[in-house]
């Protein structure tokens, strides 16, 4: 796990490539906007200076919006993942529960969760519960299916060994199946995380009183392209930060597996 030889072929410059790519994009932004060569009008492509001014104008609204959006994302991730893992484990362990729940989940799964936004609005208005339910549902459907599939791939020998050592079903759930699937869950969790941002912003477009999505839509109405840009940049930074921490956390949880970083 600690050996760097296998992961860092290509030498030390590789880790600077990430920084280089960010700089490239930023440079393009400066050059193409009216700050630079002015390829695009500021109305459609606000230059960095204006976006930075927007930060000073919005001030604490910026933080409030980010906080509200992040709160919804975290809620959706935590509750959706917990429910997805729980129901997935339950379904994998009990044939009757599987037989009963599988048709429901399988028929819901192909429906894009975004298509349900108007339905949620109808029932819950623009109340917070509607948005939270939406993201949670989105995360849940990804995690529950991934959990079931991951459990199918857990070598039977671990469960058998646990049984002969006196493990009850509960112990097999918590101490065998759950840890055994964690490496396989990293991908689905990252997908779910990205989806969570999409869903939260979509929900905020449909009706909200705060949040980055709400701010972006309001900025469009008020004709403030620099705020729209600011919102996009904010989302980009937050989403990659969250993905980074998710990978760190999962990397720690699966440190036993020796997977390449």
């Amino acid at each position: 796990m600690k050996s760097k030889a296998s992961n860092e072929e290509g030498g030390s410059y590789v880790k600077y490539l990430g920084i280089a790519s960010v700089i490239t994009v930023f440079a393009f932004w400066v050059v193409a906007s009216e700050d630079g060569l002015g390829w695009f009008p500021r109305i459609k492509f606000p230059p960095p200076t204006e976006v930075f001014t927007a930060i000073t104008v919005l001030q604490e609204k910026l933080l409030v919006d980010a906080g509200v959006t992040v709160g919804r994302v975290i809620f959706g991730m935590v509750v959706g993942t917990a429910l997805g893992l729980g129901v997935g484990l339950l379904m994998s362990f009990s044939k009757p529960i599987m037989a009963f729940l599988n048709p429901i989940i399988e028929s819901m799964r192909p429906v894009p969760v975004i298509a349900m936004i108007p339905f949620f609005l109808m029932w819950l208005g623009i109340a917070e519960s509607g948005k939270l339910l939406l993201v949670t549902l989105g995360v849940f459907t990804i995690i529950v299916v991934s959990t079931i599939e991951a459990i199918r791939n857990v070598p039977r020998i671990y469960v058998n060994a646990a049984k002969t050592l006196g493990a009850t079903k509960r112990v097999i759930h918590w101490r065998i199946l759950l840890p055994a699937i964690t490496p396989a869950m990293i991908g689905p969790l990252r997908v779910a995380m990205a989806l969570t941002f999409t869903l939260v912003v979509a929900a905020e477009f449909m009706g909200a009183q705060a949040g980055i999505g709400y701010r972006i839509l309001e900025a469009r109405r008020l004709f403030n392209p620099q705020v729209i840009f600011l919102g996009i940049v904010e989302l980009g930074i937050l989403a990659s930060l969250f993905d980074y921490f998710l990978r760190k956390i999962m990397g720690y949880i699966t440190r036993w597996s020796g997977r390449t970083k």
Binding site: K163, G166, T168
Partner: protein, 268 residues
């Protein structure tokens, strides 16, 4: 496993496991396969018994029957006189392939049995310490299994099975894919461990030497359909040194088993 204070278990002739006319048939696309055919066997308490025979003769099937993973087509499988139904903590298994839980440290693996059986914390700690040192793994308590070699993982597997204190310990070719030096070392430590701690061990192997070195009795099976060809008692005493492997008696027993296997058609 019955363990007395000084670690030496009293010998007894009480049957622990009994197979009575045990028959297992598998239905496959190409018809029925008889894996075990009317096997009758009594495994005594505190006995180290080896099950040996050619590949495909039904050794794993027999072990799975005793473990409770495989139901009999006909006949009876009894543990202490009671029918065996499903797997539980009375029979621990060391599987041929690696079954050490990679997400637990070595110590957590060894503690898994007693922890699952809700033993008191102090007893768990004592068991872990005891069996890690008996398997010579005490320096690796906090290592992850992936940081160990295959032979070390096998020792963890054995320590884990022992620490669970089963009535019967079932081992399915545990040293099957190790090199012969490591194999002989582990055979030595297993026999020593058993001599110290006691217990009933059913050890499956297709290695004649391994069976003679380890077993108090060797059950030689015929090629499919698996039947018992002969049960051979081995008299090398409780504690066995490595040099018995080259002794004339050892070689004579070896020759005898080879002849027996030639007669049954296992050896051409």
């Amino acid at each position: 496993m019955v363990r007395s204070a000084n670690g030496s278990a009293a010998d007894s002739t009480r049957p622990r496991v009994q197979l009575k006319d045990a028959t297992v048939r598998f239905k496959t696309q190409s018809g029925e396969i008889t894996a075990l055919h009317e096997v009758n066997l009594e495994i005594l308490e505190n006995e180290f018994i080896c099950l040996m025979g050619p590949s495909g003769c039904g050794k794993t099937t027999a072990l799975n029957v005793i473990a409770g993973f495989q139901a009999l087509t006909s006949g009876q499988a009894l543990l202490d006189g009671n029918p065996i139904e499903g797997a539980d903590a009375s029979r621990a298994v060391v599987f041929q392939s690696d079954a050490v839980f990679p997400w637990m440290t070595v110590a957590q693996n060894v503690a898994f049995g007693p922890t699952s059986q809700n033993r008191p914390k102090q007893e768990i700690d004592r068991l872990v310490k005891e069996f890690l040192s008996l398997t010579d793994m005490q320096g690796f308590a906090d290592s992850w299994p992936m940081q160990l070699s295959g032979g070390m993982r096998k020792r963890v597997d054995i320590a884990r099975a022992y620490a669970s204190q089963p009535e019967v310990l079932l081992m399915d070719e545990p040293f099957g894919n190790l090199d012969f030096i490591l194999k002989e070392t582990l055979q030595g430590s297993l026999r020593d461990l058993w001599a110290n701690v006691g217990g009933t061990i059913v050890f499956v192997t297709h290695d004649i030497e391994e069976a003679i070195f380890l077993g108090d009795r060797i059950v030689v099976m015929t090629p499919r359909p698996g039947k018992i060809a002969k049960i051979i008692p081995i008299d090398f005493g409780k504690v066995r040194a490595d040099d018995i492997r080259t002794s004339p008696e050892f070689i004579a027993i070896r020759r005898g088993i080879r002849e027996l296997m030639t007669e049954t058609g296992a050896l051409a």
